[in-house]
């Protein structure tokens, strides 16, 4: 790490320390020595909250089909026993899931994890979101049905993710993009925000497995493979959106010329000379590599070829 960057980070940390007050956040989960009071009492005061919550899948499950003793406590299964809160109705006497909660996010999360553990949440601990101190309630609002799925804080997963990932919102609006803003794909089609075995939180073992789950025609394996394709789709493509066609990371033919420089011989290929405006369709020496599909005007099977005469992806 560069010394200047490290110094900046250290200074920021010190500044934070100077500005911040010691926290009185509680880091232990509430004990069960407090009495449960029952949801009827909760709803007698929190009528508006209850009216929204009653329409959620949690309420429908806890109300009609509680499978455990915990679920039978409905409101108190998430917020903890309400015995103290009845006498002192503040956020200090109940587990709240908001910014003014007296509990640390890890405790808030532990309340959710009483039920929501394993499955898609197997790798939550140690995941990027967990290490960044996110609480479940940063993305979810179980108290109301704002989204069709997953009790999100906003109307869908994409809008929820864009709150912290605005760069991706800009990417999806670029010239070539995955059809997310058109409603045809969602962030959660590719990512598991709760954690996975990959750094970008992918819902697969690696990038190619994920991409070829929809683009299976590119999976192969082919008899003639293109090494960067076999390695990772991201060698050539951006995953969200690009200023260039086909979500390419840069313009053709430069993308290919970042790896290839064959010598000038029919056996070995055509040389990687610099193409200029003269090589456009309107120039003095039009060259396919600068027009239309670029190198793919001939090397059309660039993801791999299963044709016996396709080692250079012409067939």
């Amino acid at each position: 790490m560069g010394s200047s960057q490290g110094t900046l980070l250290l200074l920021f940390a010190l500044a934070l320390g100077a500005c911040a007050q010691p926290s009185d956040e509680r880091t232990d989960a509430p004990g069960r020595d407090v009495a449960y009071v029952g949801d009827a009492l909760c709803k007698s005061c929190h009528s508006v909250e209850a009216s929204h919550w009653d329409r959620t899948v949690h309420a429908r499950a806890f109300g009609a089909n509680p499978r455990t003793e915990l679920e039978q406590h409905t409101c108190e299964s998430c917020h903890g026993p309400g015995g103290k809160h009845v006498g002192e109705p503040t956020s200090a006497t109940i587990v709240a899931f908001t910014r003014d909660s007296s509990y640390a996010p890890e405790v808030m999360n532990s309340m959710c994890q009483q039920c929501h553990r394993g499955g898609a949440l197997m790798y939550w601990i140690g995941s990027t979101h967990e290490l960044r101190g996110l609480a479940c309630s940063d993305c979810h609002n179980p108290m109301a049905q704002s989204s069709a799925e997953s009790l999100l804080r906003k109307e869908n997963a994409n809008q929820t993710c864009f709150t912290c990932h605005p760069q991706q919102r800009a990417d999806f609006a670029k010239r070539s993009h995955m059809p997310l803003l058109e409603g045809k794909i969602s962030c959660t089609d590719c990512h598991n925000p709760h954690g996975s075995t990959t750094n970008p939180l992918l819902k697969a073992d690696d990038v190619n497995q994920l991409c070829t789950s929809c683009h299976a025609e590119k999976r192969g394996p082919f008899i003639w493979e293109h090494a960067p394709v076999r390695e990772s789709c991201l060698n050539c493509h951006k995953p969200h959106g690009s200023n260039h066609e086909k979500l390419l990371v840069t313009a053709l033919p430069l993308l290919c010329q970042e790896c290839h420089s064959p010598i000038d011989n029919p056996n070995f290929g055509h040389p990687a000379g610099l193409l200029t405006a003269q090589n456009m369709a309107t120039g003095g020496a039009p060259d396919d590599r600068l027009m239309n599909r670029g190198c793919l005007n001939c090397h059309s099977q660039i993801h791999g070829s299963n044709h016996p005469s396709g080692p250079k992806f012409h067939r």
Binding site: S23, P66, E258, P266, H314, R315
Partner: protein, 822 residues
């Protein structure tokens, strides 16, 4: 689909991957897809004066007002709504980009449907949402459940994808596996003027693919701690996509076609099946799953009639492309997590996958006749193949182990080991058992017809430098990653995290078999400040590795065959510039910064700021040398009341991408920069500079209880300019046309703006009118398309261009609700 495949797909539908993702929608309903929602004027609570924010400080939105439910009897409650009306398009509605992923046209439309049944006593409910019924971008989403026990989800989504609506396609048969010339033209027998006339008479056409996606999922909570999940998906694609076929270099060919743009048929299905069981208890969580994906292509090849004049004893009349072969992918995965003392947790994941493909292979060529002394009849049947089918296979395994220990509450330590291996088992030999020759037939004889019989594509031991691919290269690699991390949680709502990683990659076939990457990540997260939440991170990435040696590829070419005569006295031609390697193999010195700040502003507003910088520098000096992207985004949202909310955003991105290369010449086997093949005087470089600037604003207002307005404006402009530099005219692809040589290519630019408005007027409690309007304006300048004709020398293109357009989409719809009102 074959019965066996169907059986496999069904049998495999016993386990499932992660749970239900966001259901599909369309462009009219990108969000929740309720026919209409209004915020609840009561907000979330009547008890609290202050609005609630998430722990990170983001204001929660007002929840939607509750629907009234009607009593159906028998304990069932219901509600529903329907929106239907008429839509109109105006302006440049034919432009490709206006309808790239959506269908917009004049006509009647059932634009929204939602329906709900619920029985509170049992927790049974069903929900149906649908939109754009009958159109190519329609969606249906059905959920039926007994809450807490069983859940079924079925969805259907149409995804159109237009590639061009202004395409001129010379051939008949687009969308089929055979492209034939129109009447009046004959294969290999047409002059330029005849082709010009034929292209001029062709109407503009549309090249597009329609993807229809069906997904079924079932989740059963068999026991309080045990869930079973099953999922089946079908992706059905039909249409055509732009593809291309070449016969020879267009500039060097005095006959036959150079590059021809053709529509390749798309008619395929992907069956995916998943089944899993999930066990979770306080101590142990366990997932076991099976996944499968079966790709079936109804079209395996595309035959194309070659339209240009082809001289010589054997005219090149046609080509045949191989299309994507059927393939199968199977995966078994197990994940276990154990909670241990000291707030510790051990996770282990093991995953095994196999991809196979055993399609019957096409003959090396479709051509007949004789070129030189080669009778193509000995190459145009399956008898010319060393193997009648592909026998292609790739096996993958992943092992991931992680341990997190919390010996002292503020301090968490963790370590991890990750091993993944991809092993290619494909072993294809390009050998003709009839002629006992290694190689193939390049470009269906076009290459040999252009450069002479020794360039047909197979090894000739009498010709120096007769270097052709003879075997596939079985690319595979293994990654071994070790990581160690520590998180310290300070008493002032802040945490500091340090992560060290080392990743070793070993590649089976590569010019650089070994690389090692080291990563250090430091992050600081804080809610200590009452006025902000801050998340900062810095990551350093360093990579180096072994020597680069392109000689590894010799074993897959005829250069490795006995008696091979090299092209030059010092050996065969260089495979590549020795100091050029793709970015994923190159030495790397990279830094990545990320910052996210959330500022709660009063009771009704928040401001989010994000900034990022990625600065990667690559060695050893050629290929990609640096890649730098920086961005800043700001979002301001205000929720003045349930009746008024708005947002404003700005995004700025800048990117620089530098590369260098050398125009190679064929004089020796030396592949070094500065050597006789890659002279420094032939060196050139490109500095790509680009940016993207966007902004937008949205407003949601309900000034009167019967009047609602939602409007949004977005704007994005992107620019990319390639700055060229070269050591001499010999660096250029065409030195003869050196003057004048601009220092840049024309700017790649796009500018997009859109206004989208919905105005809803409630007529009665259960009836409303909705007026919808969307206006788009877009301009694209792309030098790849500038002046692109349909015929240029020995090239044929569709002539597609992304043109500037202004187009509007109007809709007037009646909303009717039953069983509920607003």
């Amino acid at each position: 689909m074959r019965r066996l495949d169907f059986a496999i797909a069904l049998a495999a539908a016993l386990a499932a991957l992660p749970a239900f993702a966001d259901p599909p929608r369309d462009s009219l309903h990108p969000g929740d897809a309720e026919v209409w929602q209004v915020p609840d004027p009561r907000g979330m609570s009547l008890l609290l004066d202050t609005r609630k924010r998430s722990p990170s400080g983001i204001l929660y939105a007002y929840p939607p007002a509750l629907y009234d439910l009607s009593d159906l009897g028998g304990g069932w409650l219901t509600r529903g709504a329907l929106e239907s009306g008429y839509t109109l398009v105006g302006g440049d509605e034919r432009e490709t980009r206006f309808t790239k992923y959506v269908e917009r046209k004049d006509g009647f439309l059932v634009s929204g449907l939602d329906f709900e049944l619920w029985k509170p006593e049992t927790g049974d409910y069903a929900m149906l949402r649908a939109g754009s019924l009958g159109r190519h971008d329609q969606f249906y989403d059905l959920e039926a459940s007994r809450a807490g026990w069983l859940r079924f989800r079925g969805s259907f989504s149409g995804v159109p994808h237009k590639y061009g609506t202004d395409d001129v396609v010379l051939w008949n048969g687009g969308g089929s596996d055979s492209l034939t010339l129109p009447p009046g033209l004959s294969p290999a027998g047409n002059t330029q003027s005849a082709l010009e006339a034929a292209l001029a008479s062709r109407a503009l056409g549309t090249v597009e693919v329609q993807r229809d996606r069906t997904q079924l999922a079932l989740r059963l909570r068999a026991l309080p701690n045990l869930s079973l999940v099953a999922q089946y998906g079908l992706d059905d694609r039909k249409g055509a996509i732009p593809s291309a076929v070449g016969f020879a270099y267009p500039d060097f060919s005095s006959s036959i076609g150079g590059a021809l743009e053709v529509p390749a048929p798309v008619d395929d299905r992907t069956h995916s099946a998943r089944a899993s069981l999930e066990w979770s208890s306080d101590l142990v969580q366990f997932n076991l799953g099976y996944n499968a994906s079966l790709y079936r292509n109804q079209e395996n090849s595309l035959t194309i009639a070659q339209p240009f004049e082809s001289f010589g004893p054997t005219p090149i009349t046609q080509a045949r492309l191989g299309l994507a072969p059927d393939n199968d992918w199977h995966n078994v995965r197990a994940d276990v997590a154990v909670n241990m003392p000291m707030r510790s947790r051990l996770t282990t994941g093991i995953s095994w996958s196999r991809s196979t493909q055993n399609q019957d292979l096409l003959p090396p060529t479709i051509q007949s006749g004789t070129i030189g002394t080669t009778d193509l009849a000995s190459w145009n049947s399956a008898a010319a193949l060393s193997s009648k089918s592909a026998h292609a296979r790739v096996d993958q395994v992943l092992v991931d182990i992680g341990l997190s220990v919390n010996p002292w509450r503020p301090l968490r330590l963790r370590g991890g080991y990750r091993f993944s291996n991809q092993d290619t088992k494909t072993n294809y030999l390009a050998f003709n058992p009839q002629t006992h020759q290694f190689g193939y037939i390049a470009e269906d004889g076009g290459f040999g017809a252009t450069f002479g019989p020794s360039y047909l594509g197979f090894y000739d031991p009498t010709v120096p430098g007769s270097n052709w691919r003879t075997r596939n290269a079985p690319y595979g690699e293994s990654h071994t990653t070790l990581d160690a991390g520590a998180t310290y949680t300070a008493p002032w709502k802040s945490s500091l995290d340090l992560l060290l990683e080392q990743e070793d990659v070993d590649r089976d076939v590569s010019e650089r078999p070994e690389t090692r990457e080291r990563r250090v990540t430091v992050s600081l997260n804080s809610r200590a400040l009452s006025f902000a939440t801050a998340r900062l991170s810095y990551k350093y990435v360093g990579r180096d590795g072994g020597a680069i040696d392109y000689g590894v590829y010799k074993q897959y070419t005829s250069e490795s065959l006995p008696g091979y005569i090299p092209a030059f006295p010092d050996g065969d031609g260089a495979h590549n510039l020795n100091q050029l390697v793709r970015p994923s193999l190159a030495d790397l010195d990279g830094q990545r910064w990320n910052a996210r700040l959330v500022f709660p502003l009063g009771e009704r507003s928040d401001l989010s700021l994000a900034a990022s910088l990625r600065d990667d520098n690559y060695g050893p000096g050629y290929g990609l040398t640096s890649d730098r992207t920086s961005g800043v985004e700001a979002d301001w949202t205000v929720q003045a009341s349930p009746a008024f909310s708005g947002d404003l955003f700005v995004s700025l991105e800048r990117h620089n991408r530098d590369m260098q290369n050398i125009r190679g010449q064929a004089t020796s086997a030396n592949g070094d920069a500065g050597g006789p093949n890659y002279k420094f005087s032939n060196q050139w470089g490109v500095r790509a500079r680009g940016d993207a600037v966007g902004w937008g604003a949205g407003l949601s207002a309900q000034p009167l209880h019967w009047l609602q307005l939602e409007t949004r404006y977005t704007f994005l402009v992107t620019r990319d300019r390639e700055h060229l530099s070269f050591a001499s005219l010999s660096s250029l692809a065409n030195p003869d046309f050196a003057s004048p040589v601009p220092g840049t290519l024309p700017e790649l630019r796009s500018r997009d703006s859109a206004v989208e408005t919905s105005l809803r007027v409630a007529l009665r409690k259960s009836t409303a009118l909705r007026f919808y309007y969307r206006y788009e304006r877009s301009d694209v300048d792309d030098f790849h398309q500038t002046g692109l004709p349909t015929l240029l020398g020995r090239r044929i293109y569709f002539g597609h261009k992304d043109l500037g357009y202004q187009a509007s989409f109007y809709g007037l719809a009646l909303q009717v609700s039953f069983g509920a009102g607003w």
